[in-house]
Symmetry: C2
């Protein structure tokens, strides 16, 4: 018996795993690979580069994928939603901002609306505005997020929006995490960091290697890299990355960074171009400890599904002591 | 088949649930109630009040309990460890600080050493110094803690200290949480917030009611209440509480609070005495959403164990779609 939740039917997928729409990293090839492996791949439309989005939608080919947007950024270029909807995506995945001006167009399309939230209150609002699936994202997630943690947020959101399906995001990178998310009442998992380290991800190979070598102890959530990249993120969202020399220099002194902003933004852009990740950000979450190598997305999917299924079928804590391996 | 992990044998308990040693809240009556219900009750020795500890050890009666200490505070009154060990506790539970000066005495006793950590690196160190059980505590926990989150921290610590048993702390308040912790590889759960709202807890009844009415959206981790209480906590630990008028006033302006410290500490102490929780802290974690009433500890234990066992025996995600209730 495979793992099966309400989102399997909703998206016609074999495994309840959704690719996080990592801006600039979750391209068409990665989204297609996740979908072809039985999950729901989602292209990271991010800050709205029309050419990039067109190219990556093309790159996904005939694979059934979704498209994700940063909601407050989409509000500045709302026609990008039409560009996505013209391709009849499986889902539109909106995060960070007010969804009200987009719901009607999505409701008229065949795409299901996934809304990612960071609090119980936001979950109630998204449910009221017509989300088909709520993603409850914990602050341990890589990239942008809020301050609540996955473990207590997921069951609280499940209770608040019942019977809407809730998918857990933040900190999930293996079969243990998928199984745990299901126990918390989630209908599946959104995974980013582990797919950042996939062969198909559009991240710099050096960034992938840096992630593989890192521990979750070495990540931080801050606005330092949004400032460095000149991105005007609204509060309260911050971005979780690996720590590096740049974040150690400026993370506790954003005022000092603002005083030298033009020069530091230039230095940052050059480092990013050069693949110097002592300055440029590796955008990854606390699940970094669980990411040990760069692998094809299909292998990541298979391990996660098989690992979760084995734990769910035969929970070690239900075995008689004699059946367990000695400790 | 009951839920059974390596800590069942280690502590001779029926259920792998450990009471968090909440300072001033986990007294002898609560610790005894948790132990009598099949878990491991732990008295919260906290900041080391000899009279309080003696009284609460007496109050636990013949129930087999453990004793918890704030490690950096115990270092100032190390003889309190002898006071505890004289009662032959099941466990000594140390959190927040260097354990090196205590391990030899504990190793000579019949008590098992439980060490609570907030990072993978701390877990490795505690394992090397002789901990029998590692508690991996996520930042969603109520009271003092670090910055890493339970969901990704637990499996990373499990991998780092294998085969030592790892118990999850932070965000666990019901059967879903216990089952999820076990899926992550934990050998059980440490629970604080849900027992804060127990009949037996030594918290002010108004504080318990305030917690029951609160959402995890309304908690914050800060040093504001340590300043207000005149507690000289070392970095990097902060305390998670419910937000209230006091934390909203000073949480983002610790410098301003320091400027008026004597007056504000006086005001805080008076509010605490008067049970005014618009100023005094309710020390609770993000699991607040899951705590809906004040109940006897035995009822909390029974629901948690029964809920987890039901989920583990028959995971909803392994049922065929027709067997599931419609969404």
């Amino acid at each position: 018996m495979p793992i099966h939740t309400p989102i399997n039917e909703l998206f016609d997928i074999r495994h309840p795993i959704i690719l996080a729409p990592m801006a600039g990293v979750s391209g068409g090839a990665l989204a297609a690979a996740v979908s072809n492996a039985g999950g729901l791949g989602v292209i990271g439309g991010g800050y709205g580069d029309r050419d990039w989005l067109t190219r990556e939608l093309d790159a996904a080919g005939n694979a059934p994928v979704g498209v994700g947007f940063i909601t407050w950024s989409l509000a500045k270029q709302p026609d990008l939603l039409d560009l996505a909807l013209e391709r009849a995506p499986k889902a539109i995945f909106l995060s960070f901002g007010s969804i009200g001006s987009f719901t009607a167009r999505i409701a008229r399309s065949s795409a299901r609306l996934i809304v990612q939230v960071q609090t119980v209150q936001q979950a109630r609002e998204a449910a009221g505005e017509g989300a088909a699936v709520i993603v409850a994202q914990g602050a341990e997630a890589g990239g942008h997020g809020g301050s609540r943690a996955t473990f207590p947020l997921v069951p609280a959101v499940v209770d608040a929006v019942h019977p809407l399906p809730v998918v857990a995001a933040g900190g999930i990178a293996d079969g243990r995490g998928l199984a745990a998310a299901l126990m918390l009442g989630a209908a599946g998992a959104v995974c980013g960091t582990v797919f950042y380290a996939s062969v198909e991800a559009l991240a710099d190979p050096k960034a992938k290697d840096t992630l593989v070598a890192a521990s979750g102890d070495e990540t931080q959530r801050s606005s330092v890299f949004d400032l460095a990249r000149g991105m005007d993120w609204p509060k309260p969202w911050t971005v979780r990355t690996l720590e590096n020399a740049f974040s150690r220099r400026w993370g506790a002194d954003l005022g000092g960074l603002r005083d030298k902003l033009a020069a530091e933004q230039r230095r940052y852009a050059e480092a990013r171009e050069a693949g110097d990740f002592s300055t440029a950000a590796v955008i990854a979450g606390e699940a970094a400890d669980l990411v040990r190598s760069v692998r094809p997305a299909a292998a990541i999917m298979a391990d996660m599904v098989d690992g979760a299924a084995a734990l769910l079928r035969d929970p070690p804590a239900l075995r008689a002591p004699a059946q367990r391996r000695p400790v």
